[in-house]
Amino acid sequence: MNKTLTKAEIVDAIYEQVDMNRAEIKSHVESLLEIMKESIKKDHALLISGFGKFEAYDKKARKGRNPQTSKSITLPPRKVVVFRLSRKFRSELNGNSE
């Protein structure tokens, strides 16, 4: 199984680059994530150049089925988020071969 980057390791990576203690950085990262979430909700989009774009869009209500009981249910309308990667990051991931 591959290694996983977690929030704690992101804090460590930032710690190497900024002159602040880990607790401060952790608090800033939590705030940053909150701001990102609010932005996705409010603006329906968050654009991070060189990385990608988070987009929220509305899904209509649809009929579904509980696969266990095979009862029909109506799934309520909801918002979903997708990530679209930037061209720059895409070519970085693919060795500029495109």
Partner: protein, 91 residues
């Protein structure tokens, strides 16, 4: 919102110098990008996770001209929103 607005908002909220807020945001994004580049998974509790998917190359056709084209193998990150983010959006 874009990256510079993200930096500005963080700086205002946490009373940081814009340069420091920029360093934090950039280091945050770079650490995620670097991990994905090495094929590592990224998991940010409450927000979501990223996983790299590898697609094999194939011979395709340009649907307009019918021309045969080689589609190269590619790696694309896939984002799965976390439970908290999904609930927050639908609240």
């Amino acid at each position: 919102m874009n990256k510079s607005e993200l930096i500005k908002t963080l700086a205002e909220q946490k009373e940081l110098h814009t340069d420091d807020a920029a360093k934090i945001v950039n280091a945050f994004i770079d650490s995620i990008k670097d991990s994905l580049k090495t094929g590592e998974r990224v998991e940010i509790r409450g927000f979501g996770s990223f996983k790299l998917k590898e697609y094999e190359g194939y011979t395709g056709r340009n649907p307009k001209t019918g021309e045969v084209v080689d589609v190269h193998p590619k790696k694309l990150p896939f984002f799965r929103p976390g439970k908290e983010l999904k609930e927050y959006l639908n609240k």
